[in-house]
Structure formats: C-alpha cells, structure tokens
C-alpha cells in the first residue's frame, strides 16, 4: 500500500513520518500546493509548524490545496492520520472535534510519554497489543472487554492541551472515539480527560499529539511502539484487519 505524507512550509516531522511509513509500505511526500494525492491510500499530516503556526497552530494549513484534497479523501472514507501539528490541522479543518490549546504548563515540553491504548480494534490501533489484532471488531471495545496495552513514544509540543466541550467529551467517550490516553502522571499538557488521540465518528480520521513516527527504531526512538500505528493503517487498508 502507499502512504502520502503532506509537507507544508514549516513542517519538520514529515521526513520521519515518511521513513516510518516506508517501513510498512510505500511512502511519498506531497507538497502542500499539490491537489493530486498521487494515488495514496492513506494520508499522514505530519508535525511541525505549518505556515509558521501563524494566527493559531494549523489555522492556515487547513486551506492548503493539498488539504482540500485530503478533506475530500477523508469524506470518501480514506484513512487520515494527523500527528501533533497535523492533529491541530485536522481539528482546524473540522475533520476532528475539539481544539488543541497551549500547554497548561506554558512550556514547550519534549519527553517520552506512556500512552494507554484505549481501543485496539480501530484502523489506527489494530496492530497494538499482542496477537490477533482486529479480533474485537464490532464489539464494544471501550467497555470492560477491551484489550488495553500501552505505548511509549515521544511527545514534543507547546500547544497540545486537548479541549472540547463537556458534551462533546461525553459523546467521544460513549462512541469509543478516544483511542489513546496519557497514562497516569503523563498528561503534562493538561488535556481534558487525559485524551492523547481521538478518531472521528466514522473511524477514518485520527489525530494524536505524541509522535509515533519518532519511535520506530530502538536505537533512537526509545522504543519501536510507534510503528504499530503505521502497521495498523496498513492492515486496515489491505483488509488484513476488519475495522
């Protein structure tokens, strides 16, 4: 399968995202001014400071020609992963509910975080955890029967405090749209309900603040846990997992 990784002026994690995606499939960069997604079967909106983060993080990037195509791609059911700044872009584009606000500690923070995988049966997390991923498909995986595993991957941002209205948060939890949470003691940015990653209602657009693309090699990433996110997407696209 083929991943398309967007590159905006000011992106800085697109090369790592490309390398991570290339470990599980083909991967190609897509310049922000392109409308053609080049036949990509899944899209990664990477981290960085698109358009200098002017006005608000992600506010300008959502109007890029490539993003218009990504919005269309998402409407058709295509898989879209937004990481860090990419998560902010997807929220600004209203593909995901909520917004990312300045960290409660007012600091840029870069550290390894432990994440709880709330659901391991989604298109973005089905390769998390041991064994037969996708087995829980269709079940209420947010409930007691859910397989819970954790990931250790880096996070680095100033604007990562997930915010949504209480009603929206209740809906997200009830619908099983919270896929990743900061484990106890790891929520340094003050995200409401410890949310680290949310998926849209349809299950094909996912945003997360921590960086799976930086944790694909034990030599430099502290773990290879991030690879599971990309592997999950490959499985979902290739039909290896029922999601």
């Amino acid at each position: 399968m083929k991943f398309g990784v967007l590159r905006f002026p000011g992106s800085c994690d697109e090369v790592d995202a490309l390398a991570a995606a290339a470990r599980v499939g083909e991967a190609e960069l897509i310049w922000h001014a392109e409308r053609d997604l080049g036949g990509a079967e899944a899209i990664v909106v990477p981290g960085g400071f698109s358009y200098g983060d002017y006005l608000r993080a992600g506010a300008i990037a959502r109007f890029a020609p490539a993003m218009e195509s990504v919005i269309e791609f998402a409407r058709e059911g295509g898989l879209v992963l937004g990481i860090c700044n990419g998560f902010q872009v997807l929220c600004e584009a209203r593909l995901l509910p909520g917004a990312l606000l300045g960290n409660a500690n007012l600091r840029f923070t870069s550290r390894q975080v432990r994440l709880e995988v709330v659901r391991a049966d989604s298109a973005f997390t089905c390769a998390c955890g041991a064994g037969d991923a996708g087995e829980d498909a269709g079940a209420d995986a947010g409930g007691a029967g859910a397989r819970r595993t954790s990931l250790s991957i880096p996070a680095k941002h100033s604007w990562g405090r997930y915010y949504a209205q209480e009603r929206t948060l209740d809906e997200l939890e009830a619908n099983g749209q919270v896929l990743l949470r900061y484990a106890a003691g790891e929520n340094f940015n003050g995200s409401l309900r410890d949310i680290a990653g949310v998926v849209n209602e349809r299950g094909n657009v996912f945003g997360m603040m921590p960086h799976p693309e930086h944790a694909v090699d034990e030599l430099i990433g502290g773990s290879r846990d991030g690879l599971a996110i990309f592997e999950s997407m490959r499985m979902a696209v290739e039909g290896a997992a029922v999601v």
Partner: protein
C-alpha cells in the same frame, strides 16, 4: 475601512497565559488584579465590513475556544 478584531479565550477556558500575567503583576507591586485574560488583536483594512463576521468565523478566531469582538468605527 480600518477595522479591529479582538480575540480572546472564551469564558471558562483555562488561560494559562492570563494566569501567568496575573501572578506576575503583584510581584511588581500591583495589587488587586484579577480576571486577566490574554488574547490578540487583528487590525485590517477592509472594503466590505459586512464580511468581518464571516472572516472571524472562518479564520481569524476559532469559535470553539475563542470569542471575538469586531471594533469597526
């Protein structure tokens, strides 16, 4: 026409910048300060001020977390 748009965090949303400013002021001897909120201002020259509201909704502010006030003379 010259217009100004004031944008600030919505009431009820934690504003750590405002809190930091509020904590700093007493340290400089300014007592009795509360409710500090930090936002931003956009100044712009517009031909059609009727479009300002749509500009705020679409780009200048994020209505989910920010409120805006259009100051047009």
């Amino acid at each position: 026409m010259r217009a100004r748009v004031l944008i600030r965090p919505k009431a009820g949303i934690l504003d750590p910048q405002g809190e930091a400013v509020q904590r700093a002021l007493p340290a400089l001897g300014f007592a009795g300060v509360s409710g500090v909120r930090v936002g931003r201002m956009v100044e712009l020259e517009v031909e059609d001020p009727a479009q300002l509201e749509a500009m705020c909704e679409k780009l200048l502010a994020n209505p989910l977390v920010e409120e805006y006030e259009i100051l047009a003379p």
